[in-house]
C-alpha cells in the first residue's frame, strides 16, 4: 500500500511498489488526464509535477513518489478557472487531437514557474514533448502569450 498525495488529496494505493506512478494515477486513483504514450520517458505525455518539478511518471515507481506533492493536469484549474497557460492554450487553439497536451501543458507550466520569461532557446531546451499532430507553432505562440498574460 502506497500513500500518495495527488492534487492536494491523500490516496492509499494498493499496488506493487515498482508500478510506475503513471499507472497508479490512471488505474488506481482514476485520473486519466495523464496519458500513456511510450512508457520509456521519451514522449512526455505522462508529465506530472512532483514537488513542482516536471517528471515523466511512466518511469517513476510509485515508491519514489510517496511523501511528495504530486500535481496532475486535473490539479491545475481551480474551481474551473483555467490557469494562464491553459487560457493561452485555449485562446491560441493549440490542441489538435489533444492526447499529448496534458503533458505539454504540465511541462510548460513548470517551465514558466522556474523561468517566467523564457526565450525561444529556453523553450527549445525545456519542452521536449512529442506531438504527432505537430502543434509546435501554436505551442510556442501560446507560451509567449501566457508570459504576457
Amino acid at each position: 500500500m502506497a500513500k500518495l498525495n495527488i492534487n492536494g488529496k491523500p490516496y492509499d494505493v494498493d499496488v506493487d511498489p515498482t508500478t510506475p506512478l503513471l499507472w497508479a494515477i490512471r488505474e488506481q486513483v482514476g485520473l486519466t488526464g495523464t496519458k500513456y504514450g511510450c512508457g520509456v520517458a521519451q514522449c512526455g505525455a505522462c508529465t506530472v509535477h512532483i514537488d513542482g518539478s516536471p517528471v515523466r511518471s511512466c518511469v517513476m515507481p510509485v515508491s519514489a513518489a510517496e511523501g511528495k506533492k504530486i500535481t496532475t493536469i486535473e490539479g491545475l484549474a481551480v474551481n474551473g478557472v483555467l490557469t494562464k497557460v491553459q487560457k493561452a492554450w485555449h485562446d491560441h487553439e493549440v490542441p489538435q487531437c489533444g492526447y499529448c497536451q496534458s503533458g505539454m501543458i504540465m511541462a510548460v507550466t513548470s517551465l514558466l514557474n522556474s523561468k517566467p520569461k523564457p526565450t525561444d532557446a529556453d523553450i527549445d531546451a525545456a519542452i521536449t514533448n512529442i506531438c504527432r499532430c505537430g502543434t509546435f507553432q501554436q505551442v510556442r505562440e501560446a507560451i509567449h502569450a501566457a508570459v504576457k498574460a
Binding site: 510506475p20 485520473l31 486519466t32 484549474a77 490542441p95 514533448n129 504527432r132
Partner: protein, 732 residues
C-alpha cells in the same frame, strides 16, 4: 487505363457499399454489405425532437449537430458543424455536436452516409448532404413557425436561431418550434446558399472541442472506465504471417490481478487482468513460442534487392503516359538518371491502438477510437458472429489517427475475440507502444528510377519514372485494383483527376509501376503515396533544372502552362518568399508543388546546412482547396503536416530484420520536437468551384522543398535514400 476517369479512393459504389476490414497480411478482405445511403433514410423512432438526421434542437435553443465522420485533431468536427450551421441559420454560440453510431445508421438505411474519415474526405465528400441537412431543417423550422402564425412560409426568414415573420415583425426562436418542425414532412429538395453569402463557412471560428483537452477531461479510448471492466494486453507474432506455437500460462496465472491468459486468433496471446499494468507485465513474463512462418528471414536488405530488380523489369503498370518517352530518351542529346528509395514508416499515433468490447450471446458492443465507425462495425460483426441488429460501435475521441485507425480494425477484431472468451465482462484492450510499433500498417516501401532527356538546346524532351515497390490496395482493398494495377500508387502523378501531375508540358512522359509486395502489411499513412512520389518527382525536377543550368522555378513554369492552378500555388509561395531576391547569407531555398486529394499545394523551404546539421528556418506553404471552410484550422493542418512529414524525412524508418520490425519505441523512432520546428507561413488561397482536402495534401511538399534547399546548399549534392539519419544528418 485512362487516369482521367480514374475514380478517387476508395471506390465506392452508390448502390452497394461494402465496408472492408483488412485481414492483416493475408490480402483477404472481409466485408459486409451496407444498405444504400439515400433519401429513404428512416426517421428516428424515439422522442428526440430531430428535425433532420443532422439536426436536433432542444427547447432551450441548443443546437445539436450530428457528426458521422471522425474528429482526430484535424478539425473536421468543427468544419462539418459550420456547414450545417451555415444553412440552418442558427446561432453559432448555441452549437454542440454528437457522434452518431454506425448501428443506428444501418438501422436507418444508412441515414448518415459514409463514416470514413481518411483520404482527406471528411468535409469534401459530405459538404453537400450535410449542408442540405441544415437547409432542410431550416425550411421545416420556418414552416412550423409559419403554420403557427397562419402565414405563408415565404413571408418568414431565419437568422441566428430566430424566425421572423417579415411583414409583422413577429419572432420565435428555433427551440419553440422545433417539436412542431420535427413532425413536418421534409421538403424533397432544398436550394443551397450561394457561397458568396456564407457567414459561418470560411470563417476562422473557434474549434468546438478545445476546452476538455486542456483540463484532462477529454476521454480517449485508452481512458475508458466501466463497472466491472477488465484490462487486456496483447502480443501478436512479431513476424508478419507467423502463428502461435505454444505459451505457458501457468508461469503467470498466479500473478496478482491476472484473470486469464488467452489465445486470440491463431497469431496472438492476451493477458486479462484487473489493471492494464498487471496485464502488461504478466504478458512480458509469459513464455511464448512462435511459429514464425515463411518470412522469418526477410530483412530490409532483401526487400531492397527485390525492389531494385523491379526498377528495370519489363512488366510494369502504366499510370501516366504521353508521347513516346522511351523513344525520346533513346534519342536525347543528354540524359540524367537517379534512383531514390523510401522506407517503411509507422503512424505512431500518440494514443496506442485500443478497443473496449463487451460480448453476450445476443449483443456485442465496442467502444473504439476509429476513423471509420462503419468499418469498426463491420469488424465487430465479423468477429462476434452476430447480426447487425445485435451489434453496436460507439466512437470515442481519437488520440491521433493518420490512417492507422481508418482501414484497419485489427484491434477491434482482437478485442471482440477476447470479449467472447469472457462473456458479459467489458474488456479494454490497449496496445503497448511496442506492440503498436511492431503491429503497424506501414507506409509502403518503394524505390524510383528516373531518367530525363534533353535535346541539344537543353529542352526537356522526355521523362520516365519507374516506381518499384509495394501496393497498398493489393493488400488492403484488392477489389479496387484495376486489372492488377494499383491506381493509388500514382497519387500526385496521374494524368488527371484529384491527383493530377502538374507538368502537362512534358512532351514524352512515362510513369509506371513494377509491383513488388513484401510481407510487411502496408497501410494508408497520412498523405499515403504522395509522400514519396513528391520526393521522387520534385527532387528530380530540381535535378533536371540543375543539369540544364536553369532556375528551378523557371524550369518548372515552362512545363506548367497547361496546369494553371498548380502554377498559381507555386507562384504564390515564390512571391511570398521573395524567390527573385537572394536569401539571407548561408540560407538556401527549395521548391515543391503537387496536387493531391483534389487540392493544389506548394512550398518553399529556407534551409541552412552546417556539416551534418540541417536547420529549416522557414517554410512558406500555399494551398488552394477550392473552398476553405475554416482558415485557422487549415493553417494548423499545414504546419502540423510538416511536422509529420519532416519527422519522416529526417528520422523515421521501420527496419525489417528477421521478418519483424526493429524499432519499437520513440527512442529508435524519433519524432520532431519544438526545437526543430520551422516557422511555417501559410497562404490559403481558395479559388472556388471545387472541394479539395486539407489534412493530407500539404504534407508532401515539405520534404522535397527541404531536400531541394539542402541540395542547393550543398552545391547540387543529393541524398536519395531516406530517412536522412541514415546518412548521419540531423535536423536541428
Amino acid at each position: 487505363m485512362d487516369m482521367n476517369t480514374m475514380p478517387k479512393l476508395p471506390k465506392v459504389s452508390r448502390r452497394t457499399f461494402v465496408v472492408g476490414t483488412a485481414a492483416a497480411g493475408t490480402g483477404l478482405a472481409i466485408g459486409m454489405k451496407m444498405p444504400p445511403f439515400g433519401p429513404g433514410a428512416v426517421r428516428a423512432q424515439d422522442t428526440v425532437p430531430e428535425i433532420t438526421q443532422w439536426v436536433v434542437i432542444k427547447p432551450d435553443d441548443t443546437v445539436v449537430i450530428r457528426i458521422a465522420r471522425t474528429e482526430m485533431g484535424q478539425g473536421t468536427l468543427t468544419g462539418l458543424a459550420q456547414m450545417v450551421a451555415e444553412e440552418l441559420e442558427c446561432d453559432w454560440s448555441k452549437v454542440t455536436t454528437e457522434y452518431v453510431t454506425p448501428g443506428q445508421s444501418v438501422a436507418r438505411k444508412r441515414a448518415w452516409g459514409d463514416f470514413s474519415t481518411g483520404g482527406s474526405r471528411g468535409i469534401r465528400e459530405s459538404h453537400e448532404y450535410v449542408r442540405k441537412g441544415g437547409a432542410t431543417a431550416r425550411t421545416m423550422l420556418i414552416q412550423a413557425a409559419a403554420d403557427a402564425w397562419k402565414v405563408p412560409a415565404g413571408e418568414c426568414s431565419a437568422a441566428n436561431s430566430v424566425i421572423t415573420h417579415n411583414p409583422s415583425g413577429r419572432k420565435v426562436t428555433f427551440g419553440k418550434v422545433a417539436d412542431a418542425a420535427s413532425r413536418i414532412t421534409p421538403p424533397k429538395d432544398v436550394a443551397l446558399k450561394d457561397p458568396k453569402t456564407w457567414k459561418v463557412i470560411g470563417k476562422p471560428v473557434k474549434r468546438l472541442d478545445t476546452v476538455d483537452k486542456l483540463t484532462g477531461k477529454q476521454v480517449y479510448g485508452a481512458d475508458l472506465k466501466m463497472p466491472g471492466m477488465l484490462n487486456a494486453a496483447i502480443m501478436e507474432c512479431p513476424v508478419f504471417g507467423g502463428k502461435i506455437k505454444s505459451f505457458d500460462s501457468a508461469k503467470v496465472a498466479s500473478r496478482k490481478g491476472v484473470k486469464k491468459v488467452l489465445q486470440v486468433g491463431d497469431s496472438a496471446v492476451a493477458v486479462i487482468a484487473d489493471t492494464w499494468w498487471q496485464a502488461k507485465t504478466a504478458l512480458d513474463a509469459l513464455p511464448i513460442v512462435w511459429d514464425e512462418g515463411p518470412n522469418a528471414k526477410v530483412s530490409s536488405a532483401s526487400i531492397a534487392e527485390t525492389l531494385k530488380a523491379g526498377l528495370d523489369a519489363d512488366q510494369a503498370f502504366v499510370g501516366n503516359d504521353a508521347g513516346d518517352a522511351k523513344g525520346a530518351l533513346a534519342g536525347a542529346a543528354k540524359k540524367v538518371e537517379a534512383v531514390y528509395a523510401y522506407p517503411y514508416q509507422n503512424h505512431a499515433c500518440m494514443e496506442p491502438m485500443n478497443a473496449t468490447a463487451k460480448y453476450t450471446a445476443d449483443k456485442c458492443e465496442v467502444w473504439v477510437p476509429t476513423q471509420n465507425g462503419e468499418a469498426a462495425f463491420a469488424a465487430t460483426l465479423a468477429a462476434s458472429g452476430l447480426p447487425a441488429d445485435k451489434c453496436e460501435v460507439y466512437k470515442i475521441h481519437c488520440g491521433g489517427g493518420f490512417g492507422r485507425r481508418g482501414a484497419f480494425h485489427d484491434y477491434v477484431t482482437q478485442a471482440v475475440l477476447i470479449a467472447k472468451q469472457i462473456p458479459g465482462v467489458p474488456v479494454k484492450l490497449l496496445y503497448s507502444r511496442e506492440e503498436d510499433m511492431r503491429q503497424g500498417r506501414f507506409h509502403p516501401v518503394t524505390q524510383c528510377k528516373l531518367v530525363g532527356g534533353f535535346d541539344a538546346s537543353n529542352n526537356l524532351v522526355g521523362l520516365h519514372m519507374r516506381i518499384s515497390g509495394q501496393s497498398i490496395l493489393s493488400s488492403v482493398r484488392p477489389e479496387a485494383l484495376v486489372k492488377g494495377m494499383d491506381p493509388a500508387t500514382f497519387q500526385g502523378l496521374a494524368r488527371g483527376g484529384e491527383f493530377e501531375y502538374g507538368y502537362g508540358g512534358i512532351p514524352n512522359l512515362l510513369i509506371d509501376h513494377a509491383m513488388r509486395n513484401p510481407h510487411v502489411p502496408p497501410g494508408f499513412w497520412r498523405g499515403v503515396n504522395i509522400n514519396q512520389n513528391a520526393i521522387y518527382a520534385e527532387c528530380f525536377m530540381d535535378e533536371l533544372a540543375f543539369a540544364a543550368g536553369q532556375d528551378p522555378l523557371e524550369f518548372r513554369r515552362k512545363l506548367m502552362a497547361k496546369n494553371p492552378k498548380h502554377l498559381a500555388v507555386l507562384n504564390a509561395v515564390a512571391e511570398r518568399v521573395g524567390w527573385n531576391k537572394p536569401a539571407a547569407k548561408g540560407v538556401f531555398r527549395g521548391l515543391a508543388q503537387m496536387k493531391a486529394f483534389n487540392s493544389y499545394v506548394a512550398a518553399c523551404a529556407e534551409v541552412s546546412v552546417d556539416g551534418n546539421k540541417v536547420k529549416v528556418h522557414r517554410i512558406v506553404a500555399a494551398t488552394d482547396p477550392g473552398y476553405a471552410v475554416n482558415p485557422a484550422q487549415i493553417e494548423r493542418q499545414i504546419a502540423g503536416s510538416f511536422v509529420y512529414g519532416l519527422s519522416a524525412l529526417f528520422d523515421q524508418e521501420c527496419t525489417v530484420k528477421n521478418g519483424r520490425i526493429v524499432e519499437e519505441n520513440f527512442n529508435s523512432y524519433a519524432c520532431m520536437k519544438i526545437a526543430q520546428m520551422p516557422k511555417v507561413e501559410s497562404i490559403v488561397m481558395p479559388s472556388g468551384g471545387f472541394w479539395g482536402g486539407i489534412g493530407e495534401p500539404t504534407i508532401c511538399v515539405a520534404a522535397p522543398a527541404v531536400l531541394n534547399a539542402m541540395a542547393a546548399a550543398m552545391g547540387g549534392k543529393r541524398i536519395r535514400s531516406f530517412p536522412l539519419k541514415n546518412h548521419g544528418i540531423t535536423l536541428v
